[in-house]
Amino acid sequence: MQRFLSTILLFVTMSVFALAAESAPPSAAPTDDHGDPVLKAMIAELKRSQEKLQLGQLQRPYYIEYQVSELEDQTADATLGALRSDQVNAGRLVRVVVRIGDYKQDSYFGSGTGAVEMMPTDDQELALRRQLWLATDKAYKAALTGFTEKEAALKNVETETDLVDFSQEKPSQSVGDLARSSVDMEKWKQMLRSTSDIFRSDASLESSNAFLSFRVLNRYYVNTEGTITRSGKAVYSYAFSGTGQADDGMWIERSHGWVVTRPDELPKPNEIQKEAKQLIGTFKALEKAPLVEDDYRGPVLFSADAATSMFERLIVPNILGIRPDLGNPARTNGEFASYYKGRVLPDMFTVVDDPKAKEIDHQTLAGNYDVDDEGVEAQKVTVIDKGILTNYLLGREPIRDFPHSNGHGRTALGGAPRPSISNLIFKAANGASFEELKKKLIDMCKDQGRPYGYYVETTGPQLSPRLLWRVYVNDGHMELVRGAIFKQLDTRALRSDIVAAGNDTYVYNRTEPLPSAIVSPSVLFGELEIQRANHTREKLPQYPAPALSTVTASN
C-alpha cells in the first residue's frame, strides 16, 4: 500500500513538473538585495536566467543557484629567524549550478555539476553580472549534457526508484555580516621570525619553520527557490614544526599549532615560546628514545588529543551521507553504510555534530556556521546515540531512509558541496579523570602480568604515534619510545575494544578540508596491537649542516 501511494505521489509530482517545464518556471528568485551590490548583481542575473534561459526547444532549468566566494588568504613562513614566504591570495569566484529535469531526476551528474568563473573584486554591477552570465551559460549547457549522460548511465544499471536526485528544502533567508581581516600582519610576521629563531637552540634539526595562515572567506548565495544567504568566516592558524633524523636515519617530525576563529584567541608570545621550547626538547628525547622492537598486544591509553586524530580517521569519513555511484545499492560510500541503527562505538559514547556551537569549555570551535553551502539551515545532529549509529550528515542528495538534508552540505572554495562534519563532539558517559584512566591502564597491565602499558600522547600522519610512552606498572614512570605503529586500529577495534573514556576534552580545530572541529575525551583501549614500524630509513645527510649562529637576531 505504501509503495502504491508513493508511486502515485511521485506521478503527481512528476506531472506538476512536466507542466512547469512547458510554461515559464515559477519565479521564486529572492527580491531583497539588502543593499549589497554583490547580492544585487546575483539576484538580477538569477532572475533573468530563470525567466529567459532556454536553448532552442530544449528543457529550461528548473533550478539555478549562485555561490560567490570572496577569499582573502594570508600565508607566511619563517625559518631560523628569517622570513621565507609572504603571500596574499585574494579574489572572488562564482560557482553556478543549473539543473534541468526535476527534483526526482535531474542533470546533476557527470559534466552537469556546475561551472566556475572568476568574479571581479570591484563591486560593479554589470561586470559582476557578466561573469555570472558566462558561468550560467556554461552551467546550463553542462546541465543539458549531464542530463543526457545520466539518462544513458541509467540504462545500464538497476537503481533504487524511491530516491530523488535533489531534496526539496525550506528556503532560507539569512543575510549576515561579512568578515574582514583585522590582524596586524607586520606584528605576526615578526612573531614568525622570533618563533622560528627559537629553533636555533637545536642545531641538529635539519629543517624547521613557523608558519601562519589567516583566511577570511565571505560567501554570497542565492537560488531560484528563494534562498538568499550571506556569511563571513575567518580562521586563523599559527604553527611551527621541525624535522630531524635519529642516528639510525629514522625521521623525527614534530609540530604544534593553534586554529582559532578570532584574532584575540591567537596565542600570546610567551605561550608560543613555551610550547616551542617544549617541542624542541622532545627531539632530543626522541632521538635517544629506544626503538620499539617487540610486538605488543594489550591496553593502550589515547590522550584526548590523540583520540581526536583517531576519530578523525576512523569515524569522520564513515558518517557522511555520500550517495555511492549510480547503480550501487549501498546507503553510503563509507564503512558505516550498513550500520544504520547498529553499534559503531561502545554504549558510553554519544556523538553530536553541532554547526551552531561556537565554543566548548571556552575554546573556540572552527566548524561553526548558520546555513550550509546549499542554502540549508544548519542543524544539530545526533550521529551516534549511546554507541548506536542514528544519523548520517547530509546535504541535498538524499540517501536511503534519509530524504532530507540536515544542513551539512559544505564546500571549501569552488568545489561542489558534499556532506561534511562541522563540530563533531564525542562525549562519554561516566567519564573518568585522566589519572583514573592511567591507573586503570596500570591495573589492567598488572592483572595481565605485563611490565608496562602504552600511552599515546600525539599522533602524526596515518595515525602513526609521534609521542608514545611506556607506562611502567611498578612505579608508574613513563618512558618515551619511537618507531612504532598501530596494527588493526580500525572501526572494529573502536566498536569492541574501548573499555573506558575520560571526562576531559580536547578541541582539535582543523582548517582542511574545511574549517571544522573534532572534540573528544581520552580513550582507553583494553587491547590494541603495537608493532615495530618497518619504514625504510633514509641515509643521514652526506655532509654536516652549516654552523648556526647562536645569537638571536629577533626581538
Partner: protein, 579 residues
C-alpha cells in the same frame, strides 16, 4: 584554438595561488652581497665535503632568482586580481660521474635539478641551511640517477649521438647592478587597466576578455663550482590584452595583444595601447561574422608580425640543440648542417645581446643564460644554408660548446632556446609594393584570389607563464585578396596544411621593414621571454583548409545590460534541438 580554457584556468590559479605581498622584508634592490657570498661559501663547502663521497660530484651550481612583481588584472572595467609577490627561489644542480656520462643523461636530465624557497631576509645561516639540506637531497638524487644511467646505457643499444653530457666552458664573472623594484602609481594603473578592459565591454559578442598588467623584476645570482659568479637583472613590464568569442557554428575565436617594455616610460603610449586593444576587440566582432575559409592552394602574403611568429614556431624551435639528440624528437634539421633549408636570400640569426631593433625593445634580450654562459649572436641560417643550432651546455654531434642559449625558468633544467630570433632578407621590395606583388602572383597563377595573413598565433603569442604550449601555428586574421579591386574579405578557421617547412621554400620575396613580436615562449624548460622579428613575406604557395575545432554554441542570452529581445529570440530559433 584551445585558448580560452588554459588561459582562464591559468589566470584563476594566478589569483588563488600566485601573488604575494611586496616585501616589507629584504628589498630586492642593489645586488645583494650577503646572498651571493652565502651561496658561494655553501657551494664551496658542499664541493669540498662531497669530494669524499662516492660518487663525488664534478659540478655543482646554485642559481637563485629573486623576483618581486605585481599583477593587476581586470575584466569589463572591474578589477579581478590585484596582488604583489616577492620570492627567492634556489635551483640547485649537482652532476656526478663525468662530463662524458653523468646523471643528467637522457630522460634523467629533467630530474637533475632541485628547487627550494630561500629566506627573503638576509640571514646567512638561515639561507645556508636551506641550501645545505637541498644540496644533500640533490646529491642523493644525482647519485641514484647516475646509477640508473649507467645501468641503462649498459642495457640499451648504442645511441646514435654519443656526445658528452656536459660541455667544457670558461667560467664567467659578472657582478651587475641589482634593480630596485619598479615603483609605479598603482592607483593610476588600476584605473588604466580597468579602462583598457572596458573597451571589450562595448562589443556584446565578446565573451571572455581580460587585460593584465604584469611587473616582474628579477635578479639572478649564479655561482658554480667551475668558478662562475654572476649577478644579473632583468625588469619586465607587460600589458596583455586578451579576448575571445565564438561564431554561431561554435568556432572559438581569440585575439591578443602584448605590450612589453623594460620600464614604464618605454611602454607604448596610452593612445597606442588603447587603439591596439580597440582593434583586437573590433577584429573579434568581424571574425565572428566572417565566412569560413574554403580549401585553397595559392599565393599568400604574411605580415612581418605573422612571418615572425611563423619563423619562431616553425624554424626556431626546430633549431634547438636538444631536438637534434632526443630520441623522441623529429630531428628535422639534424643532418642538414651545410645544406640549404631556406631560399638563398634569407638568413636567420638569434641575437640575445640586442636590446632593441628599429627602436623597439626586444624581450629576448639577456646578458647571461641560465647556465651562466654569456649570451651571443648565433647565425643559424646564412643565405639559406643551415649553419648551427641553439646550444645549451648539452652537446650534440658536431657542436661541443654552448652558444649562450641555455635557457629555462626557475625549477627546470635549461635547454637550448631562442632569445631574439631575427629573419633578414636580401630580396626585398618596399613594403608599399608588397600588395601589388601579391596581386601579380595571383594573376600569374590565374587564381581567383590570394591570402593575406595579418596575424598568426603561436604558442608564444598567448603569453602567460605556466601555460602549456606546443610549437604550432594558428592563423588568426586572414584576408582574401582579390586581383580585381574588390575589397579584401576576412575569413576564419584557417589551418595551414602540408609541412610548414616546405612552405618556407616558396617564399618569393620580402618587404623591407622588420616587424618585432615580443612574447613569452613555453617549452620543456618552461617559459622564457623572447622576441621574433621578420619582414613581411610573399609565398608563391600556401595550402590551407578549414580547421576542425569547437562545437559549443555562443551564449544563449545576450550579455547583461544589452538586452534586446529580438537578439535572444533570433538565437533561439537559429539552431533548435540538437544535443
Amino acid at each position: 584554438m584551445s585558448f580560452k580554457k588554459p588561459l582562464f584556468l591559468c589566470l584563476f590559479s594566478l589569483v588563488l595561488a600566485g601573488p604575494a605581498l611586496l616585501g616589507q622584508t629584504a628589498p630586492a634592490g642593489a645586488s645583494n652581497q650577503v646572498l651571493l657570498n652565502t651561496m658561494q661559501q655553501e657551494l664551496d663547502r658542499a664541493m669540498t665535503s662531497l669530494s669524499k663521497a662516492d660518487p663525488a660530484p664534478y659540478f655543482i651550481s646554485y642559481a637563485v632568482t629573486e623576483e618581486s612583481g605585481a599583477v593587476v588584472m581586470a575584466s569589463n572595467g572591474a578589477l579581478v586580481a590585484n596582488a604583489n609577490r616577492h620570492d627567492r627561489t634556489a635551483d640547485i644542480s649537482v652532476r656526478v660521474g663525468s662530463r662524458d656520462l653523468d646523471n643528467t643523461h637522457g630522460d634523467n636530465r629533467y630530474n637533475a635539478i632541485t628547487t627550494a624557497a630561500l629566506p627573503l631576509d638576509d640571514k646567512p645561516d638561515a639561507i645556508a641551511r636551506v641550501l645545505w639540506l637541498n644540496t644533500d637531497r640533490m646529491y642523493k638524487k644525482a647519485a641514484q640517477g647516475f646509477m640508473e644511467v649507467k645501468t641503462d646505457t649498459k642495457v640499451r643499444a648504442e645511441e646514435e649521438d654519443s656526445s658528452p653530457d656536459f660541455s667544457v666552458e670558461k667560467p664567467q664573472v659578472f657582478i651587475g647592478k641589482g634593480i630596485a623594484p619598479e615603483s609605479f602609481d598603482r592607483k593610476a594603473w588600476e584605473d588604466r587597466i580597468r579602462r583598457y578592459s572596458s573597451i571589450f565591454s562595448k562589443y556584446p559578442d565578446i565573451e571572455n576578455s581580460t587585460v593584465v598588467l604584469l611587473i616582474e623584476d628579477s635578479t639572478r645570482y649564479f655561482v658554480s663550482s667551475e668558478g662562475s659568479r654572476l649577478v644579473d637583472s632583468r625588469p619586465l613590464i607587460r600589458v596583455l590584452a586578451l579576448g575571445n568569442t565564438r561564431s554561431s557554428d561554435g568556432m572559438e575565436l581569440a585575439r591578443s595583444e602584448t605590450f612589453d617594455a623594460s620600464s614604464f616610460d618605454k611602454l607604448d603610449s596610452d593612445q597606442v595601447m588603447t587603439a591596439k586593444i580597440e582593434k583586437i576587440a573590433q577584429d573579434l566582432q568581424k571574425l565572428k561574422k566572417a565566412p569560413i575559409v574554403e580549401p585553397f592552394n595559392g599565393p599568400a602574403l604574411l605580415s612581418g608580425r605573422a612571418a615572425a611568429v611563423f619563423f619562431h614556431e616553425v624554424v626556431g624551435h626546430r633549431l634547438e640543440g636538444q631536438r637534434q639528440r632526443g630520441e623522441n624528437e623529429g630531428q628535422t634539421f639534424t643532418k642538414m648542417i651545410g645544406q640549404p633549408v631556406l631560399p638563398k636570400f634569407l638568413s636567420v640569426e638569434d641575437d640575445p645581446t640586442l636590446p632593441s631593433l628599429g627602436g623597439v625593445e626586444l624581450s629576448g634580450n639577456y646578458n647571461y643564460d641560465e647556465e651562466g654562459e654569456k649570451s651571443r649572436r648565433v647565425d643559424l641560417i646564412s643565405n639559406g644554408i643551415l649553419k648551427q643550432f641553439l646550444m645549451s651546455r648539452m652537446p650534440v654531434k658536431g657542436f661541443m660548446q654552448s652558444n649562450g642559449h641555455g635557457r629555462g625558468q626557475s625549477g627546470l633544467m635549461p635547454v637550448g632556446r631562442q632569445g631574439n630570433l631575427i629573419v633578414r632578407s636580401t630580396k626585398t621590395v618596399p613594403d608599399s609594393e608588397l600588395r601589388k606583388e601579391l596581386i601579380n602572383e595571383i594573376r600569374k597563377q590565374k587564381k581567383p584570389f590570394g591570402l593575406y595573413f595579418e596575424d598568426i598565433a603561436g604558442g608564444f603569442t598567448l603569453t602567460m607563464r605556466n601555460m602549456p604550449q606546443a610549437f604550432q601555428v594558428m592563423p588568426l586574421m586572414v584576408w582574401k585578396v582579390y586581383p580585381d579591386g574588390r575589397p579584401d574579405e576576412l575569413v576564419r578557421g584557417v589551418d595551414i596544411i602540408g609541412t610548414p617547412l616546405q612552405a618556407l621554400n616558396r617564399i618569393v620575396l620580402t618587404g623591407q621593414k622588420i616587424d618585432v613580436f615580443n612574447g613569452e615562449c613555453g617549452a620543456e624548460s618552461g617559459s622564457v621571454p623572447v622576441s621574433a622579428a621578420a619582414p613581411a613575406m610573399l609565398f608563391s604557395e600556401i595550402e590551407v583548409q578549414k580547421v576542425a575545432q569547437g562545437h559549443e554554441r555562443p551564449p544563449v542570452l545576450p550579455p547583461p545590460g544589452v538586452e534586446k529581445p529580438e537578439v535572444a529570440s533570433q538565437q533561439q530559433n537559429a539552431n533548435p534541438g540538437g544535443r
